[in-house]
Symmetry: C2
Subunit: 352 residues, 2 copies
Amino acid sequence: MSTPLQNDLYLRALNREETPRTPVWVMRQAGRYLPEYLKVRKQAGDFMTLCSTPDLACEVTLQPIDRFNLDAAILFSDILTIPDAMGLGLHFETGEGPKFSNPVRTAADVEKLPVPDPAQSLQYVMDAVSTIRRELNGRVPLIGFSGSPWTLATYMVEGGGSKDFSKVKGMLFSEPALLHKMLDKTAQSVISYLNAQVESGAQALMVFDTWGGVLSPANYREFSLRYMQQIVDGLTREADGRKVPVVLFTKNGGQWLDIMADTGCDGLGVDWTTDLADARARTGGKVALQGNLDPSVLYGSPESIRAQVKTVLDSYGSGPGHVFNLGHGIHQFVNPEHLGVMVEAVREQSAR
Amino acid sequence: MSTPLQNDLYLRALNREETPRTPVWVMRQAGRYLPEYLKVRKQAGDFMTLCSTPDLACEVTLQPIDRFNLDAAILFSDILTIPDAMGLGLHFETGEGPKFSNPVRTAADVEKLPVPDPAQSLQYVMDAVSTIRRELNGRVPLIGFSGSPWTLATYMVEGGGSKDFSKVKGMLFSEPALLHKMLDKTAQSVISYLNAQVESGAQALMVFDTWGGVLSPANYREFSLRYMQQIVDGLTREADGRKVPVVLFTKNGGQWLDIMADTGCDGLGVDWTTDLADARARTGGKVALQGNLDPSVLYGSPESIRAQVKTVLDSYGSGPGHVFNLGHGIHQFVNPEHLGVMVEAVREQSAR
């Protein structure tokens, strides 16, 4: 029997239940803008050691909870753990971001891609989840996550980050059946990975579709949304007698919120290029909404931060179903005190 | 008296008049994907010498017209000519893109910004326009262009390209009045620059708002669209007894097409993340639409290029007012023959 949750505002908001104020957490809340994170990061030596050492991953996951008293914790990990477990050879080159030694380019490459067993090559993630869950001790819920199949495929085919996605789009346009096969294997891998996270203690799940917004509407439906639908349909949606909500987030996907809501997910992440009022109108109360302060607001003065928080809360308007967040991950060079100003402003201004 | 236009399909389509087929041109059609461009670029030595030598700028402008028989030529230049003429010290660092030696950060910096006289520091652009117009000899219309004030401001404040726009957004949120002053001076500069291009021979104008899509809807209206409105209101809209159409293009601005159309411009550029059918419905026939093939389609096979061209033409549907283009500039590593396949497909499939 697990420790009862002391603060379940986040889960209730995702369930569109009334809450005394709007819950708040921040994408990439455990990260390089925090001096205490940089210290542990240095101690770990490299990024993947930090991800794969459960005690260290737990320590950095809890840092922003301790500092800002946020309403949810999110597993400290990377979206590229799955392709790494598939044998692609993830490594990080200084100043160049993630790279894969064995990118997926041919039919033979796709054929030999395994669907990793989370209890094998991804057990370190599950250990991190259970460690964090234990150390949180019921303070706030723990969010597990994965990249979307399309987003993972961009890295797997390009062999790393990309500006124009020439290789994966070349495959999309010239060999769509091959890409579909790869996306299906990746979706199966994501499903077992996220279900294992729930089994290890994750109380909510988020799917990050960072690169869905570089597709045309038709290609988005066919190559990204379709596989997020497969995931939503395949996930464990309940644990410990409580619903495990699922949130989908497509960066630059503001035009597709309606079809995303139709997947049957519980919430949608919204970036700052869409007004929450519009997002709410277009999703017709089917889902909760998470967002959507421009992360760059945190470069402004405390006064302007408070004003912009108000704009976001007012844009959502009254009624339940709002989780306050940035519209994307917090930037590396933000002053942590500015995030404190934001969190305080959300608490004060949203009190009902 | 200028030479009569032999092919005015582009101008007629922007005026939403019937045409026997859909005209086609391509953003960055004079560029690095063409071996003949690379030859002249090498001869010039550096990029700004190429821009500022009218005969060379003319030569590269005409190369894609000669090779692909496109329906419009666009001045070969750079959007950063205006900030350079304002004294910011434009230079290009290898592999790092454009940089300014004197970025604009303080009230004093903004105060001393001049509104450049195009007949002085930008005369080289006007010489390029008149040279190109003469050498085109009426084959197709010549498009002049500028960056939008917001887009120029991002480079002017950041001192070059940026990933998160921390400095210009810091100014936006903390010192909005200062940013407005800078945007107003920039808009005045763009107006006199574009009007001088028309006087020198430009027959249509395009305003590139490359970075408007990184703003929230409210900030887009206040800091980008407002100054494009000022430009539309201040432009010469007729020359040689013929309308000079104005096209606005905000990359990732699909959600704002309706308010962009309300500026009174003649056409809108649309990127590939919005269906032309939707764009058409939301702009209610007020404007022509330019776009919107995903530039990455050109990495695919000739067969898939033809199929995707059909999808774009079908999405626009019947009736006048469509100018075929990519949804963004052509990529550097595209095979030029694939662009030829695209142009041929547009000509064949759109014939009425």
